[in-house]
Every structure is written in structure tokens, then in C-alpha cells.
């Protein structure tokens, strides 16, 4: 079974880091080329939102992949992927507060409370903050058992984020993309239930 040594792990992490920055690099590049469509702001908002969801999916892939393949070292990549999810969520949120409300916090707050699709999107973002804040080794150690409990919030974040995406597309019945992302997320969440069920069954025996 493939298990990278320390140096290989470092290289894999570095490669992943660069790879994870490509969506941002693409936006910057398209921006310089004047190719962010006639509505660059909408383009950036959509793109950062899409990539938040994609990184959420990738992050949630780690555990099932590790279980199925036995590659325990995959766990070492999870934190970085989770933080990139947060990074693209921050970018997405920034476009909302900057371009949609031009830093008018009161107007933003009204929008958050009034529109359910924004309420759930905003909640998902807020719930990501404690997860990012407790991602350091020191925090993992300090929180111990509670760390695992806390980080189960990611399942709730996934559901809220998906709801946000679905609702956003609902008015125009344009569900092709939400169906794909939603199915993947559902599969990933169900896999947790399956693992949990199996563990319970085997420990009861």
C-alpha cells in the first residue's frame, strides 16, 4: 500500500496547494484579459460560490476515500482542503458585501434576514468560521474529543450551502448543476451514515 514518507507528503501538499489556487488564478487571468463577461461581478460571485461547493465536496471525499482505500495519509490533506473551502467561501461572501451592498452592513443584514436563500448561505458561512479557527494543531489538542463533535458541523454546512445553491437556481428552474453537486454531496453524507451504521453493528457484536 502506498504511504508517502515525510518528504513525499510535503511535495503532495505543495502540489495540492498550487492546484487549489488555480480557480483564483483563473479569475485573475480572465480579469486581465477582460474576459469576465459583460458582468464581471456576477461572474466572480458565481465562480467563487461554485468553487466553495466543489472544495466542500472534495474535503468530504477524504474520509470515505481513506476508509475504502486504506490510505490513511489522505487525512493529512483534509485540513488544507477544508481551509480552501473557507477561503473560497470568504471570497464569495466578500463579493456579496462589497459588490451587492458596497459595505453597507445594515443593508446587508436586512438582506440576510429577509431572503431565505441568503439566510441559509450566510449561516453556512458563519458556521465555517469556528471550524477554520479551530483547525490548528494546538486547537485540535486542546479541544480533544470536543473537536470531533464541533467539526461535525461541516455536515450542516454542506446541507445549508446546498440549499442556498438550490434556492438560488429555483426561480429559473435551472437545476442541472445543483442536481449534480447535490447528488455528490448526498452520496458523501450517506456514506457517513453507512460507516456509522457498520461501526455500531460491529461494536454491538
Amino acid at each position: 500500500m502506498f504511504t508517502p514518507n515525510q518528504q513525499q507528503t510535503r511535495r503532495i501538499k505543495a502540489a495540492l496547494f498550487v492546484l487549489a489556487l488555480l480557480p483564483l488564478a483563473r479569475l485573475v487571468l480572465l480579469g486581465f484579459q477582460d474576459k469576465l463577461s459583460a458582468n464581471p461581478i456576477e461572474f466572480i460571485t458565481r465562480s467563487s460560490g461554485d468553487w466553495t461547493l466543489y472544495f466542500l465536496c472534495i474535503t468530504l471525499c477524504i474520509t470515505p476515500l481513506r476508509r475504502l482505500s486504506g490510505w490513511n495519509w489522505l487525512l493529512k490533506l483534509r485540513r488544507m482542503l477544508g481551509l480552501f473551502t473557507f477561503f473560497y467561501a470568504c471570497l464569495h461572501f466578500t463579493t456579496f458585501i462589497w459588490f451587492d451592498h458596497f459595505f453597507d452592513l445594515e443593508a446587508m443584514w436586512k438582506d440576510v434576514l429577509k431572503r431565505p436563500f441568503i439566510t441559509v448561505g450566510f449561516s453556512a458561512f458563519v458556521l465555517l468560521i469556528p471550524l477554520a479557527a479551530t483547525s490548528t494543531n494546538a486547537m485540535v489538542r486542546r479541544l480533544g474529543r470536543h473537536w470531533h463533535m464541533l467539526h461535525r458541523l461541516i455536515y450542516l454546512v454542506a446541507i445549508l450551502a446546498m440549499l442556498h445553491f438550490w434556492w438560488m437556481r429555483a426561480g429559473k428552474q435551472n437545476f442541472a448543476q445543483p442536481v449534480v453537486v447535490g447528488s455528490i454531496l448526498a452520496l458523501l453524507l450517506v456514506s457517513r451514515l453507512v460507516f456509522w451504521w457498520r461501526r455500531r453493528a460491529s461494536s454491538a457484536r
Binding site: 486581465f32 459583460a38 458582468n39 431572503r115 434556492w167 426561480g171 428552474q173
Partner: protein, 321 residues
């Protein structure tokens, strides 16, 4: 201590950027950045289609309907479109509308009229003298443009077919041919695209029967060869590539209204006070002008066309949104 102040001095001739080089900055920037080559090649060929020669239309600018706004760049108005018959992405119409055949084309006009008729484009062009009008276009999604359209008041065409006393509404049907329009296979809307107006709205001189833009015939992605333009309503009310105009006694079942009645009303007048359920309609972003460092501009009642207000006296516009 002597303080030296920098003063403006004439630049050396060698310091001045040659005009041609300065003006080619965009191309230079584009050449600098490589990557996403396939996508940009596709975009470039589509842009080339945009700049392909179309026929010029002789039209006189009508000062009464010429907004003070700065016209939106032609490239923006022809690359950022909602025309779901060609796909749901804003760039899809530009990429795929080339497959639509607009010659020959006829429009069937029937229903509650004394003189039903089928007109081809040449006859449609001759119904009334062509005018150029610069209209604001406000999309229900919260962005806007200002476009110089070419056409004449829809009322001129309506007069020609002589509606009967039963004609209370006008229904517009767009072409829906899955062979020419890749998006018609999707289930996003119930095809064909149908839009409609009350007859008095249709007879308002602002309602434009449109055959061109920017001094030339319409591009396919903008609804060639014939469409309507209703500047006081959200953009989706202005049906594109029309094949049939029917006069009816009952309110037409319009496409977006059927699809999501709580979000898209039959009237859909631009109204900053009636929010879309998922976003505010109080402000809008003008494409090409309101960029990263500008606040969105305020949306005006009836998109800044108060002359239509009389059509709705006594109506609760929050209810009939």
C-alpha cells in the same frame, strides 16, 4: 534648506508612447496572458460572428424616445443575453444563436382582428418609417443596459390589422424549433416562449416593434429578425424572434408566469418597491459602467418612463406585479 518642487516638464519625444501602441494595449494584455485557450478561441470566433456585416437600416433618431444614458457597448449588448432557447448561460446565445435561420421569416398575425395576415420581414419593415430609440433595458436579475433599437411603435402594426372589440390582450409567440435552438430541448420553460400585454399597453407609443439595433439589423442572440421592446417592463417581457402575434379576449398564459407565478407577474413593470422574492429590485448595475468601485444605481419606477403610469391608475401594483 532649499526645497525643490517637482514641476511638470515637457516629456522627451522618446518618452511618449506611440498612439498605435497605446491603443493596442488590450491586445497586448491578451497576448501576455496565455491559458484557457480553447475557451477564448471559441469566444473570439463568436465575437467575429458579431462583427460580421449585417444590413444597415435607414432610421431617423426619435428625440422623444432617446434616453440621456450612455449607450451600452455593442460587444456587451451582444454577448451577455438571456435567450433560453439557446441555453441558460448568458454567453450561450452568442455562441449558439448562429444556427437560427432568419431568412425567410414570416409573422402570423391573427386572433381577434378584422384583417388577419401573414407578413414577411420586408413587409414588416414597410409598415411605418423606422426610428432609432435609445431605451434603458432593466433585467429582472438586477442589471441594466441602454440600447439604441431600431423599429416603430407597435401601435402602427396593430392599427393595420384592425383589432375587434373583443381584443383585450396581445400574445407574442417566439420561434421554438429544437433543430435550430439547442435550448428548446430543456425543461427549463414550457416552450414555445409566450409573452403578452394588455391591448392598451401594446398600443402605448413606447412599445416598440423592433427590427434592429445599433443602426443595423438585429443579431440572432438579440432576437432577430423581429422582436418587441418594452422599456418600462423587465426585459423578459420583450419577446424575441417572434413568429406569431395573436389578439385575445383573455389574458395570455405567459412563459415565466406559468413557470414561477410568485416570482414573475403578468405585468412585471419595473418597480423598485416590489422586490423579487430572492433579491431587492431597488438598485441595479449598469453593464459596462457600474464596476467594482461603484455602488449600484437606484432603479426608477417604470424604469424611468413615468408616461406609462396612466395605464395603471387605480391598480395596486404590489398585487399586480
Amino acid at each position: 534648506m532649499l526645497i525643490k518642487r517637482a514641476r511638470f516638464t515637457e516629456p522627451l519625444p522618446s518618452e511618449i508612447t506611440p498612439r498605435a501602441l497605446f491603443e493596442s494595449r488590450r491586445e497586448f494584455m491578451q497576448q501576455l496572458a496565455v491559458g484557457s485557450i480553447a475557451a477564448s478561441a471559441m469566444l473570439d470566433s463568436a465575437l467575429a460572428q458579431n462583427t460580421a456585416p449585417r444590413s444597415k437600416l435607414a432610421a431617423r433618431a426619435n428625440p422623444a424616445y432617446f434616453a440621456k444614458d450612455k449607450p451600452t457597448a455593442f460587444a456587451d449588448a451582444t454577448s451577455y443575453n438571456n435567450f433560453y432557447e439557446f441555453g441558460t448561460d448568458k454567453g450561450d446565445p452568442m455562441l449558439y444563436a448562429g444556427s437560427m435561420k432568419t431568412q425567410p421569416w414570416t409573422v402570423r398575425i391573427d386572433g381577434e382582428v378584422k384583417k388577419p395576415m401573414t407578413l414577411d420581414i420586408d413587409s414588416l419593415l414597410k409598415v411605418a418609417p423606422l426610428e432609432e430609440r435609445l431605451y434603458r433595458l432593466r433585467c429582472v436579475e438586477g442589471w441594466s443596459m441602454a440600447i439604441p433599437w431600431v423599429g416603430y411603435s407597435l401601435a402602427e402594426l396593430i392599427r393595420k390589422v384592425e383589432p375587434t372589440g373583443n381584443a383585450k390582450f396581445v400574445e407574442f409567440t417566439s420561434l421554438a424549433d429544437p433543430k435550430q435552438m439547442p435550448g428548446v430541448g430543456s425543461r427549463v420553460l414550457d416552450w414555445p416562449y409566450v409573452e403578452g400585454l394588455r391591448i392598451d399597453e401594446a398600443n402605448h407609443p413606447l412599445a416598440l416593434l423592433c427590427v434592429g439595433m445599433y443602426g443595423q439589423t438585429l443579431l440572432n442572440q438579440n432576437g432577430a429578425p423581429v422582436r418587441v421592446v418594452l422599456p418600462w417592463k423587465y426585459g423578459f417581457k420583450s419577446a424575441k424572434s417572434i413568429v406569431r402575434i395573436r389578439f385575445t379576449e383573455t389574458q395570455p398564459h405567459t412563459a415565466w408566469n406559468k413557470s414561477a407565478p410568485s416570482e414573475y407577474g403578468f405585468y412585471s413593470n419595473v418597480n423598485p418597491e416590489v422586490d423579487h422574492p430572492r433579491w431587492s429590485q431597488a438598485a441595479e448595475r449598469r453593464i459596462g459602467e457600474d464596476g467594482f468601485f461603484a455602488k449600484k444605481r437606484k432603479t426608477l419606477m417604470f424604469n424611468g418612463y413615468p408616461e406609462v403610469a396612466a395605464l395603471y391608475t387605480g391598480m395596486d401594483l404590489k398585487k399586480f406585479f
